[in-house]
């Protein structure tokens, strides 16, 4: 254990970390978005772990999923109960080894944990953007990250890595900035979300729209649409787990009783779990951000954007490690295989493995040894090759 102030953290933790902020696209140089609209100034919240080497060849950009943040690892304060969202993977000696690599993670634009999003103040009006915030795409998120990476003095990233929406950003990075990415690690991801995935996102958005507190997105300063956002999160959580995992974790067990109470109080363990997830989420997430980010995921479609996957990947220079999970029904393996086949046909270097897991889409966030081992080995050989 090492001690940071009053906080005892494990030796393989990055310890106390501070979120930094980078602002660019200051008026009149606003950032041009895919939708045709402009946004500025743009602030990105980011954290870094480890040290950039003298040759600047060991930088790894981590890309978060729907509900993630810049805070990938360690603790922001001594009072933090939980570490960052990918702490199981980031730290000294871990998969993304901070003794070896310089790790960067930023909050996406449209987000609500420090980067410019619908809850930010619109300099034009002095009020929160709300729904006047322009629609952002995965492509826009990546373009914003590009400014941050250049600001940090990095010409080429050793790797871009992320799961789910983070994997989409990783793919977009390789396509948008081929010369800047040596390798990419998309996990549990896809070149486009399925109709089923869009359907679940839409139900989540409708839950928010129909919350009377939502007020057309103009709820800042008043009561927040917590019921709607909580419900959206509960629905989302079902899609992140597999049937098997739910069965093992909760089964039909009751929370506090042995017998049915014959009323509508929540009594099954799985009900309590989902309620808990919903409540936890509304304390840390903005409902409008949920709308914007799910929309960005729905819009992502490399085939539509470039004509075909082959055309999308033609100029890509990166080497790939792509991982999918057998029990992931939200981003099923076939969607990863489709990416792999297109990359192979383009003659790119690509490793692909479908990991046998019971834990569903979110496996990439869990302590999965196979995922960790494969990424660590891939990164090591990429560093030997490009570092």
């Amino acid at each position: 254990m090492k001690t940071n102030g009053i906080l005892d953290v494990p030796d393989d933790s990055v310890g106390l970390v501070k979120t930094e902020y980078f602002t660019f696209a200051v008026i009149p140089d606003e950032m041009r978005l895919v939708s045709g609209r402009s946004l500025g100034p743009v602030t990105l919240a980011y954290e870094t772990y480890g040290n950039l080497n003298a040759e600047r060849t060991n930088a790894v950009l981590l890309l978060h999923a729907l509900s993630g943040s810049a805070h990938a690892a360690g603790y922001n304060s001594n009072d933090d109960l939980y570490p960052g969202w990918w702490d199981l993977y980031v730290g000294p000696g871990k998969t993304f080894d901070t003794n070896r690599y310089f790790i960067i993670c930023s909050n996406v634009i449209g987000g609500c944990t420090g980067s410019t999003g619908p809850a930010s103040i619109d300099p034009g009006t002095g009020k929160e953007y709300g729904l006047s915030f322009p629609i952002v795409t995965i492509h826009d998120m990546v373009n914003a990250q590009y400014h941050l990476v250049r600001h940090l003095g990095i010409d080429r990233l050793l790797a871009v890595a992320g799961g789910s929406m983070g994997g989409m950003q990783a793919l977009q990075w390789c396509i948008s900035y081929p010369g800047m990415v040596a390798s990419a690690i998309p996990l549990a991801s896809s070149a486009s979300l399925s109709a089923q995935g869009i359907a679940f996102n839409e139900v989540g958005r409708q839950a928010i729209f129909r919350d009377p507190n939502w007020c057309g997105g103009d709820y800042y300063g008043g009561n927040k649409p917590e019921a709607g956002l909580g419900l959206a999160r509960m629905i989302g959580h079902i899609t992140y787990m597999s049937e098997q995992l739910m069965h093992e974790k909760f089964g039909r067990r009751l929370q506090d009783a042995d017998l049915f109470s014959f009323n509508f109080e929540s009594e099954f363990m799985v009900e309590s779990y989902l309620h808990h997830q919903g409540i936890k989420f509304v304390n840390r997430f903005d409902a409008n951000s949920y709308l914007y980010i799910t929309k960005a995921i729905d819009y992502f479609d490399l085939k539509a954007d470039y004509g075909s996957l082959g055309a999308a990947f033609e100029k890509v220079e990166a080497d790939f490690l792509i991982i999918s999970y057998t029990s992931d029904w939200l981003y099923p393996s076939e969607q990863s295989r489709e990416i792999v086949r297109a990359l192979r046909a383009c003659g790119k270097h690509v490793g692909y493995t479908e990991i046998d897991s019971d834990t569903g889409h979110d496996t990439f966030l869990l302590d999965d040894r196979q995922t960790q081992r494969n990424i660590a080995n891939f990164l090591r050989s990429q560093f030997e090759k490009h570092g």
């Binding site: 192979r344 490793g351 080995n377």
Partner: protein, 214 residues
């Protein structure tokens, strides 16, 4: 020192002659690459640009450990996506007999590879014949170490079968090697009556010529 064909005590049949066959800096696809030892050796010794396909997740992980790019899937999965003649060499080492669709796999290999290296255990080897003749049971030995009910080898063949097949399909055979595996995994060439006395057959087919002709 261990021979390149021996790894962890296990004999890697015919690795040495495949390594000898592949020219430096070739672009190589190894179908059914297992733990990647052959590709890794080729990468080290011949500086090849290597690609692998392997069914087991553990095999893929071991390839990643060696810095190889390996795809987890059936070997016939996605072959159709490759452009014609996109590899200098496509290797099918000790795998043909366990493919589900050998005809499809061979046709695709001939299309995507400028050269194909096909190596397989020879079911015509005299000890196999003797076992079937004398004992009346399915042969089980070092070449084919499985009981009939657990064997992945569903399309067993002899050297003569393969040659006939190539002739019938107009697959040009560039080179033909017949061998037994000796001490330390060294391949020992057989001199006469290959279909009777060779444990293994290795063939180099001219995929470029074939693709050009069709």
């Amino acid at each position: 020192m261990k021979s390149t064909a021996e790894h962890g005590g296990e004999i890697r049949a015919g690795y040495d002659i495949i390594i000898e066959e592949v020219p430096a800096h070739s672009r190589v696809l190894d179908l059914g690459c297992g733990d990647g030892v052959l590709l890794y050796t080729l990468q080290r010794v011949k500086k090849i640009d290597g690609y692998g396909v392997e069914l087991s997740a553990e095999g893929v992980s071991m390839c990643l450990e060696k810095g190889l790019y390996c795809y987890q899937g059936d070997i016939d999965d996605g072959l159709a996506d490759y452009k014609s003649n996109s590899f200098d060499y496509v290797i099918l080492n000790q795998t043909l007999q366990s493919t589900k669709k050998p005809e499809y796999v061979l046709a695709e290999i001939m299309r995507i590879g400028k050269n194909a290296i096909i190596s397989f255990p020879n079911f015509g080897y005299y000890q196999i014949r003797l076992q079937l003749l004398c004992k009346g049971t399915m042969p089980k030995n070092r070449l084919l170490p499985y009981e009939w009910y657990e064997s992945p080898n569903i399309h067993l063949l002899t050297i003569r079968d393969f040659l006939r097949y190539c002739r019938g399909n107009h697959y040009p055979v560039k080179k033909e090697r017949h061998f037994n595996v000796g001490v330390g995994g060294v391949s020992l060439p057989t001199v006469a009556a290959a279909n009777l006395f060779a444990q293994y057959g290795m063939f180099v087919l001219d995929g470029e010529k074939f693709t050009g002709a069709s």
